[in-house]
């Protein structure tokens, strides 16, 4: 199957290893992947701050960049949700772009959603002998409606010890600019999350949204908690055989 990778700005700029793992996992599972030039950001930061006009400029560019893609895979629940839920709002009063946005929406998938729902694969052949817990990010579950797919994939990793996170659906407190604008409230919220994570006794925290992971990981590290933080793709890339490239 052919698909295009929309790596997202956060993975591109701060977590290139996650991008690498996404490529590895997808290729190993038979996906012919390309990386369309010109991709930058889905526009979520500006959209969440109310700057719809500025968002639309970048969103139009992304729609153009992926115009010829058959499927688009996005290793981020909230970026995928931005396209699915935000783009139609952005182009509400612009029928021409609304139609193009809808076409983009129809072929865009979050990483785990693509593997489970489109490839029909629930075991990617990874091995990872660690105790892990999983943070369900808000926009991925509530807006995009992707809840079980990442957990199905995780539970089928050989050797993994999967522990459910208490209050997994509670927000981690990131909220984009909220984490800086109202940093003290945000910090109180992430502390609840961190306490729940620690209570699981897991060695590794796994998630599908790098911004949530940056927030939770940043707090874990500041509190001196020795816990590994990984994107789902990085776990699925473990012990999966030879490099796929």
């Amino acid at each position: 199957m052919k698909a295009s990778l929309f790596v997202t700005c956060i993975a591109d700029l701060m977590y290139a290893d996650v991008g690498k793992s996404v490529v590895q996992v997808l290729r190993r599972n038979g996906v012919e992947l390309d990386f369309p030039e010109g991709q930058t950001c889905c526009g979520q930061p500006a959209f969440s701050s109310g700057y719809y006009k500025e968002t639309a400029i970048v969103a139009k560019k992304m729609i153009e960049v992926f115009e010829n893609s058959e499927k688009v895979v996005i290793p981020s629940g909230s970026c995928a949700a931005m396209i699915h839920h935000g783009y139609p709002i952005l182009f509400e009063n612009d029928p021409k772009w609304k139609k193009r946005a809808e076409e983009f929406v129809a072929k865009s998938y979050e990483f785990s959603q693509f593997i489970v729902d489109i490839l029909g694969i629930t075991d990617v052949g990874a091995t990872f002998k660690k105790k892990v817990t999983y943070h369900s990010s808000c926009h991925m579950t509530r807006i995009l409606g992707v809840e079980e797919q990442p957990k199905i994939l995780l539970k089928n990793v050989k050797g993994i010890d999967f522990i459910e996170l208490p209050y997994a659906f509670d927000c981690c407190g990131f909220g984009g600019t909220f984490s800086m604008k109202m940093a003290d409230i945000s910090s109180a919220i992430v502390d609840e999350k961190v306490d729940n994570i620690i209570a699981t006794g897991a060695d590794v925290l796994v998630g599908s949204d790098l911004t949530c992971l940056m927030n939770i990981g940043g707090r874990l590290s500041r509190r001196g908690v020795p816990m590994q933080v990984m994107h789902l793709a990085q776990v699925l890339d473990q012990g999966g055989g030879k490099n796929a490239y």
């Binding site: 591109d12 701060m14 500006a46 109310g50 500025e54 560019k61 509530r142 927000c171 600019t177 003290d184």
Partner: protein, 473 residues
Amino acid sequence: MHIEPSFRKRYHKALSDTAMLKAVKNGTGRLRGQRATAIEAVGTERWMAFRDRAEAIRLHVIQHLDQYLDQLINNVLKNGGHVCLAKTGEEAVKYISDLAKKKNAKTILKSKSMVSEEIHLNPALEKQGCNVIESDLGEWIIQLAGETPSHIIAPAMHKNRFQVADLFNAVSEEKIPTEIADLCGFARKYLREKFLGIDIGITGCNFALADSGAITLCTNEGNARIISALSPTLVTIMGMERILPGLEELTVMLSLLARSATGQKLTVYNTLSTGVRNEEELDGPQEFHLVIVDNGRSKQLGTKYEKILNCIRCGSCLNACPVYRNIGGHAYGWVYPGPIGAVLSPLYQGMDKYGELAYATTLCGACTFACPVKIPLHDMLYALRNDKVELEKTGGVVEDITYKGWSATFATMSRYRFSVRMARRFQFPLVKAEKIAYGPPPISDWLRHRDMPALPDKFFHEIWPEMDNDRKE
């Protein structure tokens, strides 16, 4: 109660009040746990169908609000009641104050009414010499404390039993133990006596039924029922949107309200009152006044925020909200806290005063999913932020510059790649052990609580060509 005008100062005060935060976390935790159990018992699918039905009922009422108001008013008048349609809070307060004067009322007993809090009724009545007593346990507690409600259905959620005991001891002749049963026992005894000397009773309104003019009151303490039975003059205050067509719709809403609010199948006391007593009846008021308050509601009709009028004030979105759970209700500043307050306050009271509340949210969407009548609360929070940028022409100086620059950079690949490479090259003075150690605001705000990784040696778009070439070879 003095309310600090700066939201920032209000929430900082809240963040340092550990007793309050503990009480709020306990309270919200209990309520949302009970709600989850109740929904589990119903089954998620049926619950979703329930919500769809409730949403449809509320949307229908709001879209035909003029007709239903007309029907309601006619039926209340037919039943022998009086009606005041108040455009503003001041008008409503004046009507009730004048009535109290006319009746020479000394003792006024109230059951819980958020609208009465919204229009600041108690201070106005007290100013003219009335003794106003709140008969809802939570409302009475905060009345003794001289505070406002911090939660829509549990107004004293922010207080623990020790604080409540202190408040009760201030009005009690004998010392009351801090056990909850003793505290409730004292409140019952104290308030029971007050019910016997009511001049005017004031209640809120959960739902007014248009087809009969009946007022529905839901309480777990039975206080509203006693007031509606024992008051010679009864006043009911309602927001103008709190109407249902009739009993059939009420059954849906009652089971949804109780489950969403507290996880109960039904609130303990559900009273329907048509106002003035009939000749053959022994109790019930001799005079009934329905005060219907607009106060910013009608201006939402026909706007993208119209669905906010669906709200049945169950408080479920508060319990679901991570921000509410971590700052409590008072920090929001106006009478309605949490996500519903963050939307209502700027809409009813103005963006200039409460616009900041639209940013007091992580946009996690938990509120929207907790809402029994499916108000898209978090979409409205986005819309309010967009309104600020579009209508006020600014979302803040820093934001304006940031996002204009962002769109100019991120819409063009070469500019994007150039600027991120420049950022990586010049980040070195800020980096220590692969982490960002210092930064200007707003990065410094992030760094106060959390670490942040430095930009890596290679961006993904620099690695991709290698991965792609290896593949092709």
